[in-house]
């Protein structure tokens, strides 16, 4: 392979520019779904006939990036819907990854699964292949909500799916949920609390609770624009956020990122955390992003373009940007302030030459008084209220 053709995202010289000394993470995007959910703007196609070609191309993209000698300590297979791949294909995909790259023995290997796809066979195959974490896209345990979200499964299937994953031996389980659906606030909120209670009954190691967001170009955005539906106003959204966090913290979860909760630090999503602390990552598959500490590049958001480039032996990069210190600084702030860990003040000063405690003394004092942030052990940490306004905090 031609190592010069593709920048080595984990090259040591580059990695020093980032803030983290962790090994990089590997993301694989499986761009296929049986049907498109109206709120989702992740890239995927419902033309499943392209799967074999895609997997072949993905192998080529892996081989173009074999220069990652330092290896990865997290692998995340997302989508799309990776779980719609057959048992055999999943097995083979994971085998390919392990062959192409050095994966740490204690790596966190996550696969996103849809409740409808959790056959015992698939789960066993994943487990056997070395997958040790599942992220289940339950979204809700209410059939009405699931129908609105365009999901293919029913609530009872989600419940069964969770049982099956436990039966298959998965000990690190994440459940994804969505709140803030349209409708009378009282009813919608009651439904959400039920969903949250149902999820908690399974004691998942990890919970992601996302506020339904209107992404441009989605059918949901269309309906909102036409005035057919309206999402809760900001006051209600804030209440969802605060109540959810309070309930989950009460139940023993740690609110470690705006939308993410874990039973202790051990079960934080190690892979996703890399995004928030500027650790380099390599993303493979259409629309996947990679970051080497300085440069971020992303692949074509089209299976056809992706296949075409790789068929010609070229990297399927659509665009890339070299981040200035100023851009990295801003990212550092807004990403760091999404997490409870916050910003390592000494590290920030070393990297960007700015002592936030001095330069932002006055506003930080006010933010502390108003309980948006805490300063503890050399970290600037957002409180729960602070996380809710993390974007504004980043612009202080």
């Amino acid at each position: 392979m031609d190592a010069g053709a593709i920048p080595n995202p984990a090259g040591d010289s580059l990695r020093r520019l980032g803030e983290s000394n962790e090994p990089p993470g590997l993301y694989i995007h499986i761009p296929f779904c049986l049907s498109k959910c109206p709120y989702c703007d992740f890239y995927s196609s419902t033309d499943l006939t392209a799967i074999p070609d895609f997997l072949a191309a993905l192998r080529r993209e892996m081989s173009l990036n074999e220069g990652f000698k330092s290896g990865f300590d997290t692998v995340y297979i997302g989508g799309g819907t990776p779980s719609l791949l057959s048992q055999t294909l999943l097995d083979r995909l994971i085998g390919d990854i392990l062959t192409a790259f050095t994966i740490a023995s204690d790596a966190e290997i996550t696969v996103e699964v849809n409740p409808g796809d959790t056959t015992a066979g698939r789960l066993t195959a994943l487990r056997r292949a070395g997958v040790n974490r599942l992220s289940i896209g339950c979204q809700s345990f209410d059939d009405g909500a699931l129908a609105f979200l365009g999901r293919r499964h029913r609530a009872d299937q989600a419940v069964e799916a969770i049982h099956r994953t436990r039966d298959a031996g998965f000990e690190n389980l994440g459940i994804d949920l969505i709140y803030g659906l349209p409708g009378p606030y009282g009813d919608a909120f009651a439904t959400w609390l039920d969903t949250l209670r149902t999820a908690l009954a399974f004691r998942p190691e990890h919970l992601s609770c996302y506020q339904l967001t209107v992404e441009t170009g989605t059918p949901l955005a269309d309906r909102v624009r036409k005035g057919e539906i309206a999402l809760p106003d900001p006051g209600f959204q804030s209440r969802y956020f605060h109540r959810t966090a309070a309930i989950l913290e009460e139940a023993g979860y740690r609110h470690y990122e705006v939308s993410n909760f874990a039973q202790g630090d051990r079960f934080r999503s190690r892979h996703n955390s890399k995004y928030w602390n500027h650790t380099p990552y390599l993303g493979l598959g259409p629309a996947a992003h990679s970051f080497d500490g300085r440069r971020r590049r992303w692949n074509h958001r089209s299976i056809a373009a992706y296949l075409k480039e790789l068929a010609a032996g070229k990297p399927p990069t659509a665009e890339s940007e070299l981040l200035s210190d100023e851009a990295l600084r801003l990212e550092s702030l807004f990403l760091g302030l999404r997490t409870r860990r916050g910003i390592d003040l000494a590290g920030f000063k070393r990297r960007y030459g700015e002592d936030l405690l001095v330069e932002k003394e006055e506003i930080l004092k006010k933010l502390k008084e108003d309980k948006f942030v805490e300063i503890r052990n050399g970290f600037l940490m957002p409180t729960r209220a602070g996380m809710a306004v993390a974007d504004s905090l980043a612009l202080i």
């Binding site: 993301y27 506020q211 939308s259 928030w276 993303g283 940007e321 990403l335 504004s392 612009l395």
Partner: protein, 598 residues
């Protein structure tokens, strides 16, 4: 002299003045069609965008008429806003006639009338021209009727054209020759030239635009400006035909320019008379007024690092705007800046926009004020145009504010609404006349402060554009005044303070709070806005904090996109002034003066 015609085009805004000027220029062949840049006379971006002419210019059009003779048709452009009425009057004083341009679809409008009256005051020949006859909505018959009934002109004398399509242009040029009298004047008499405009040229200094009434001027002459008796040696005279064209001399009846080593335009006064130092004319030409700023506001850079840039930019700007004055100022809330004087709020807007656009500065303007007069306990009289310098209330024995006489012409049907508005604005001593049937001439004496801030816009709105308005400063009158302070989160923002009529203080305080509530975006903190007089809080409002602004998800693919959004927000925030922890947008400072009705 018989072959010279000096004229202006006067029109309501948007009735096509600049387009017609362009057509006349094109028709007379001063510029070929290929090089033609639309609307040559409005050569500043802002003018073009706002469709108003701010500064006038003059252009000399060579025209061979059907009578076989060649003429110099001097088109003197006029500014088109009430802030610049005096400049208009000086331009008109340099003419013998006007084209009164009326939009065939809109008919007679407020400025049509205001300009007509100005032209009549100067005894000018008036040629009504109906423009835009190509519009589907054109109603030429109605306009002809209006010329007769509303303007009191002989409707038989009208011309029709479409400046856009270039029809009727020759007829207009012929009418200028036939119906506007040639200038009179004595070439042998001592020089008397009226200054109607001045522009700054980076290489030559000030270029004075003038109309020669008597005598002659040429390079080498020592001229004297009669207002301040300053003398200058003439370097060059000439006419303006798209570019300056040098000539031997300018003589009685002609319009042209003089370059005489005058450093800045502030050294010359529009309306002043130029004469010869060694052979002066007996009296200056009539009508000179020293234009004084009536509205004052402070300008601060948003980033204090930009102070030096602002200083340099103001100096440059001032070179070309004699009516703009400024001096150093500082604010507890906004830091170092400049106190500036303007002819009116439009003038202020223009200055702000030009500083931002041409000099790339982000600036904040404090709340504008008029100039008040206070008599203090020790007998001294002081003038205060900056609320920051409001005297200690206990030391004031008498407080006075400037009054104007407003003269309004309007169709009778709007009389009730206008009188109500004038009364609301503390108008007194009204007079009412009917110069012609159906049209009322209404005068009121009103405090300047009331008129400046939102009177003009509201007047236009209640008369649906059919009223014309002009004012003269008359005197200072005793008035109970108070200093209204605005506190943002308990901190006094001096740039938001205003001097108000005591009886209106409460209402103004409330209004200011409400306006600020609309203008200041929600932030992380609750923002308390209070109006206070002395120590007493008279009004308050709060802007509640937003509680959630973060997006739910942010993974690999979202980061660049999200950062770009934040970069944009950050840029927007840079255009706001941080006061304490509150970001206040520029617009807030002017908005406090706006009333609810807008």
């Amino acid at each position: 002299m018989d072959n010279i015609r000096n004229f202006s085009i006067i029109a309501h805004i948007d009735h096509g003045k600049s387009t017609l000027a362009d057509r006349l220029i094109q028709f007379t062949g001063v510029v070929n069609d290929r090089d033609f840049q639309d609307q040559i006379l409005d050569n500043m971006d802002i003018e073009r965008e706002r469709g108003i002419t701010i500064k006038s210019q003059a252009i000399s059009l060579p025209y061979k008429a059907k009578d076989g003779c060649s003429y110099a048709l001097n088109l003197i452009d006029t500014p088109g806003h009430v802030d610049f009425t005096y400049e208009v009057s000086r331009s008109l004083a340099s003419c013998e006639g006007v084209l009164l341009l009326i939009d065939a679809a809109q008919g007679v409008q407020a400025q049509t009338l205001a300009n007509l009256y100005l032209a009549m005051e100067h005894d000018l020949a008036i040629i009504p021209v109906i423009n835009k006859i190509d519009l589907p909505s054109a109603d030429v018959e109605r306009v002809i009727e209006q010329i007769d009934s509303e303007l009191g002109l002989d409707s038989d004398t009208h011309l029709k054209c479409s400046a856009k399509e270039g029809t009727g242009i020759e007829e207009i040029l012929e009418a200028i020759v036939a119906r506007i009298p040639p200038p009179k004047g004595d070439q042998k008499a001592p020089l008397a030239a009226l200054i109607f405009d001045a522009k700054y040229d980076a290489f030559r200094g000030t270029v004075i635009y003038c109309r020669i009434f008597d005598g002659q001027v040429k390079a080498g002459d020592i001229i004297r400006l009669m207002y301040n008796n300053a003398t200058y040696r003439v370097e060059e005279v000439g006419r303006f035909i798209l570019r300056r064209e040098k000539r031997e001399s300018l003589s009685a009846g002609e319009v042209g320019y003089i370059i005489a080593g005058v450093k800045t335009v502030s050294d010359v006064r529009t309306g002043d008379t130029i004469t010869m130092d060694n052979r002066p004319c007996a009296n200056p030409l009539p009508g000179f007024k020293e234009v004084k700023p009536v509205v004052f506001a402070s300008i601060y850079p948003i980033a204090s690092d930009d102070y030096e840039d602002l200083a340099v930019s103001l100096e440059k700007y001032k070179l070309n705007d004699a009516s703009f004055v400024y001096e150093k100022d500082s604010s507890a809330a906004l830091g170092q800046g400049f106190r500036c004087g303007f002819l009116g709020l439009l003038h202020l807007d223009i200055v702000q926009e030009r500083l931002e656009r041409e000099y790339d500065l982000s600036i904040i303007l404090s709340v504008p004020s008029v100039r008040y007069r206070f008599t203090l306990r020790d007998g001294t009289v002081i003038y205060v145009d900056n609320p920051t310098h409001y005297p200690e209330p206990m030391s004031i024995t008498k407080s006075e504010e400037p009054y104007i006489r407003a003269t309004m012409m309007l169709p009778e049907r709007y009389l009730g609404a206008v009188m109500k508005l004038c009364m609301e604005k503390r108008g007194v001593n009204s007079t009412l006349n009917y110069p012609n049937p159906g049209r009322a001439e209404l005068t009121y004496e009103m405090p300047l402060a009331e008129v400046i801030f939102d009177f003009y816009d509201r007047f236009k709105s209640v008369t649906q554009g059919y009223g014309s308005f002009d004012y003269d400063l008359i005197d200072y009158r005793e008035s109970p005044l108070a200093l209204l302070d605005i506190l943002v989160n308990g901190e006094r923002v001096d740039a938001l303070s205003q001097i108000v009529h005591r009886e209106r203080a409460r209402a103004r305080g409330l209004q200011a709070c409400e306006r600020l509530k609309d203008e200041i975006p929600r932030q992380m903190f609750k923002i308390a806005i209070q109006g206070a007089i002395g120590g007493e809080i008279i009004s308050r409002t709060t802007i509640s904090a937003f509680r959630k602004d973060v997006i739910a998800k942010c993974y690999g693919g979202d980061i660049s996109r999200k950062r770009k959004l934040l970069e944009k927000q950050k840029k927007g925030k840079k255009r706001m002034k941080m006061i304490g922890n509150v970001s206040i947008p520029q617009s807030a400072f002017l908005a406090v003066l706006k009333s609810d009705t807008e």
